[in-house]
Symmetry: none
DNA sequence: TAAACTAAAGTCAAAGAAAGTCAAAACGGA
DNA sequence: TCCGTTTTGACTTTCTTTGACTTTAGTTTA
């Protein structure tokens, strides 16, 4: 029931919190062993929960003494908005879109209430169109809202 | 003979009553199993009895650890919101939708920034779908945003 | 020093676990 | 009987978990 991926995600985020330098190194096999899961599960967590659009950078090394390093990137607002708009592209799924909106909130670029509004606007149920265009519309909505809110970016 | 849909509806409403925060999470298959009906019956109940117009928000996730979450606004305490939802209806043009959003702002129910986000979300350019469904989607988005904002969880 | 070994991490696809969709069949009231 | 509502089930989509196989890098050995 409780997703192991979520538990691992939380664990890593706690590690990041503790490490004040906003980056942390793990051993894939060790972690997999600790959580009693397949090592590739760690990769799954990293790609789905610690992707670039969520504000993380992964760097790693194989072989003896290998490691995986998770870095929380810290960029200024303008760059960040630009990065996010790029990540949205012309089509975006609900998961990814929600992730992006959450990042905006975590970085305190939007408030809790604004976050709630945005998430509602891109929910799968509200955009009840044929599947094939759903993600396109969602991309437009996400970008539209972000641009409207931060349209001073780029100016001055 | 009592319709199973009505029984399920009641059951969910009881769950919502018990839940302090006016929101509840269910497992579709589990519930279907409990009531001995087809899983898709649950979807039927949700779409016919827990629609946006009735003041409910549904959010869900597939795959392992999936769930369906039903959120309710307190219609009694917020009759004015219900009135606004009714005004939106099943389909709404950009002009009228913008008007409603402006009313929310004038009554200081939403901030200037929230107003900007909402207007962006329902603009004609962001909702780039075939004309015939554009106003339907817009109605959903407006209602979804309003319900999300005015349910009990949404208020910090 | 090159080859062999060991110790990591990466990839990818299949299997599993949910929920969603849609239309046909069944039901029930006017 | 007819028509709108409900029920059912086959099929689809999305997300997660697992495991076999690959790649890379350091270490040992002939």
């Amino acid at each position: 029931m409780a997703r192991i991926s979520d538990i691992i995600e939380l664990f890593i985020k706690e590690l990041l919190d503790e490490a004040h330098n906003q980056s942390v190194e793990i051993q894939r096999n060790e972690l997999a062993n600790y959580f009693n899961c397949a090592p590739s599960q760690i990769n799954y967590v990293l790609t789905t929960r610690f992707s670039l659009d969520k504000g993380y950078l992964i760097e790693s090394r194989r072989g003896g003494g290998g490691y995986i390093k998770i870095v929380q990137i810290n960029i200024d607002r303008q760059q960040h908005i630009k990065l996010i708009l790029d990540q949205v592209g012309n089509s975006i799924g609900k998961m990814k879109a929600t992730g992006i909106i959450n990042v905006l909130k975590n970085r305190e670029l939007i408030t809790e209430r604004e976050c709630i509004i945005m998430r509602a606007a891109i929910s799968d149920r509200t955009i009840n169109t044929p599947v094939n265009i759903k993600d396109d519309i969602r991309a437009n909505i996400v970008k539209g809202m972000i641009i409207a809110l931060f349209n001073d970016c780029g100016r001055e």
